[in-house]
Symmetry: C2
Subunit: 214 residues, 2 copies
């Protein structure tokens, strides 16, 4: 897996060009810092085209979270980690894939939804809800594997839903520390947290020998 | 410990009033979304006073990261978890304190530095560096306890510095998911990640029985 490969085909329609411009600019400078003029200029479309497709910048933000979810969701749904027979290995395979996808500067691997919601959670309930759905949708896709891994291991005191959310929380936090680190060390600054997450899950989801022996 | 108690005395000078306005507004709406006019209005000072103390909004952002670090740093330095005899318990005590401090809506407990750097990391290297120092300064304060806990437990493959950074990454990620969750469930949405972090550290830092017995 090569990091930073776009999951999406090159945009053809004006709408998709604007959404791709949103991915790029919001990763670089956030939602409030990105203007409709900048989005149009980056997309190479007119302001008339923008307002043909989106009633407002907020409407683009909502559509962008959905666009982000559906493209990343389809990518992960098709990834080979699903072929592991062991559910714990499927979960670790997802974490490994997320780790492999981190490379280059932070703006090339950070999360559009996590960046938007960090600043827009109070100013736009529509954007907050769309970003929450995006992040929790990624989490929900792992719940069945986590439930099977918990049952197999006998891990106590944890739920599949909470562990699934924790994967997303660690990824979001890793991206914040990567941005703080700056260009050169950004990828390494993010990856170390996915390795800690992996170690936690390995310890938690290994079969309990004292119980399986009884 | 009551959540959301300000760590800082009520601001007396115009400079401190502007910094407290920055804490409040940037937690609510981010850095790019906050104008100098809003900062002045929130602080109850004139624009002349603003530019007497800060050359630019960027200069306020840098000063704010430092103000945030020094006030939170002093609070944690004085906290009772330092009195545990066991270094692993000191580390867990810090995590417990961070967990207890989470309550109410996300804007009352989220991190000013993490919010600023999420959007300003590319547009202002000065703000990025100040936020990185703020986050890593909190991390560095835990390194000695973590080093002692690693040595005591025999945990392998981890360093004190990396575990210290991981605490901060999980906290930052918890705040992003809390913001996405929205008002009602925000605190619970953040706390669950600190509980996962605690479980990871408990498993990692417990003495290895098979080795201490040999």
């Amino acid at each position: 897996m090569i990091p930073n490969q776009p999951f999406r085909p090159a945009p053809a329609s004006a709408r998709d060009k604007l959404l791709e411009a949103g991915v790029k600019l919001i990763r670089q400078q956030g939602f409030a810092g990105t203007s409709v003029d900048q989005l149009c200029s980056e997309a190479g479309v007119t302001k008339g085209a923008f307002f043909h497709h989106f009633a407002s910048k907020e409407a683009l933000g909502v559509a962008l979270a959905d666009y982000w979810s559906s493209s990343t969701g389809a990518f992960f749904a098709a990834a080979p980690y699903h072929h592991h027979a062991d559910p714990a290995q499927r979960v670790l395979g997802y974490i490994d894939l997320r780790t492999e996808l981190i490379g280059g500067p932070a703006e090339s691997f950070c999360c559009v939804a996590g960046t938007m919601v960090q600043e827009a959670f109070l100013s736009s309930d529509l954007i907050r809800t769309a970003c929450n759905s995006s992040i929790l949708g990624n989490a929900a896709a792992l719940e069945d594997d986590l439930a099977a891994a918990i049952e197999q291991s006998g891990a106590r005191g944890v739920t599949a839903a909470s562990l699934a959310r924790h994967i997303q929380a660690v990824i979001q936090g890793a991206f914040v520390l990567a941005k703080a680190q700056g260009d050169v060390g950004a990828a390494a600054a993010a990856r170390e947290h996915l390795l800690h997450l992996r170690r936690y899950f390995e310890m938690l989801l290994q079969p309990r020998i004292e119980e399986t022996a009884s």
